[in-house]
């Protein structure tokens, strides 16, 4: 039970961060990506704040033998730079640039009852599902 409550808390804190930083607003995000328009550097400071906290705290956290509520840390093992990584990031970037939505803000915006967020999130889930179908072993 505790591990579900902690995950819930982390989701809330993450979502509040998206609200406070206004990254939940696609036009705010596009203001950063549009270097030819009225450029808004805010997104860079959001990343700087997040990286400062996440980067320094992980040095302390990973000294532990295991996380507080689980048996082990589950960290990404992949280190290679390959075609799927670059192609996937490039495709994601096209969708992000067209909409201003990446997965976190799109999900958070669902509770505000914005129809566009539902359309985007539905299509995003379909895209993820499509990948699972095409990539899963036959």
């Amino acid at each position: 039970m505790a591990k579900y409550l902690s995950a819930l808390l982390c989701g809330i804190v993450f979502g509040l961060g998206l609200c406070v930083s206004q990254m939940i607003n696609p036009q705010k995000v596009l203001g950063f990506l549009d270097v030819a328009g009225a450029w808004d550097p805010s997104l860079a400071l959001v990343m700087a704040g997040a990286l400062a906290v996440a980067g320094t705290s992980r040095l302390v956290i990973l000294h532990r033998a295991k996380p507080v509520l689980e048996a082990e840390f589950q960290l990404p093992k992949a280190t290679h730079i390959d075609t799927p990584l670059i192609a996937g990031a490039a495709l994601f970037g096209i969708g992000w640039g067209l909409s201003g939505f990446c997965p976190g803000p799109a999900l958070s915006a669902l509770s505000l009852g914005i129809p566009e967020a539902y359309v985007f999130t539905g299509a995003m889930l379909a895209g993820m599902w499509l990948f699972q179908i095409l990539q899963s072993p036959k």
């Binding site: 607003n25 799927p84 970037g93 997965p103 299509a123």
Partner: protein, 142 residues
């Protein structure tokens, strides 16, 4: 730079970093949103419960923010067909590249992963070029 909001951007970023740190400390997991969502869809290769809890928190957070007196402005100019195309690309692309803004851009960069740095530079460039063409060349009104 009249739209620049440095203080709210930094404090929001600190909250996001705190969520990333807490999820690692308590659950031993990486707070990459696309990965957390992808794991909720079939086939279920990994635990689903903590993912649903995290996503519930992420989704209710704006309501709490408003309850606490916060003001939210969510402006979307893209048309519905364009949002469908964008959503499909974001879903497929983050699955193929195994990460999004949070997974590669925050969690990956925080552990100085070269793989995540390449992904982050790629999606930033791709998004900026796409937006330039869509907004300033094709005048799609986004």
């Amino acid at each position: 730079m009249e739209n620049f909001t440095p203080y709210s951007a930094l404090s929001g970023g600190v909250l996001i970093g705190a969520a990333v740190a807490l999820l690692l400390l308590l659950n031993g997991r990486i707070a990459g949103i696309s990965g957390i969502v992808g794991g909720v869809l079939p086939p279920w290769r990994d635990a689903v419960g903590w993912r649903l809890s995290f996503l519930t928190g992420l989704i209710v957070a704006p309501l709490l923010y408003k309850l606490l007196g916060g003001q939210l402005n969510v402006q979307i100019h893209a048309s519905l067909p364009l949002l469908v195309v964008a959503g499909l690309l974001v879903g497929y692309g983050t699955s193929l590249g195994r990460g999004c803004t949070s997974g590669h851009g925050v969690c990956g960069l925080a552990r100085l992963s070269a793989r995540s740095a390449v992904a982050t530079v790629t999606f930033m460039l791709s998004a900026a070029i796409t937006l330039y063409i869509a907004r300033h060349v094709l005048n799609l009104g986004i």
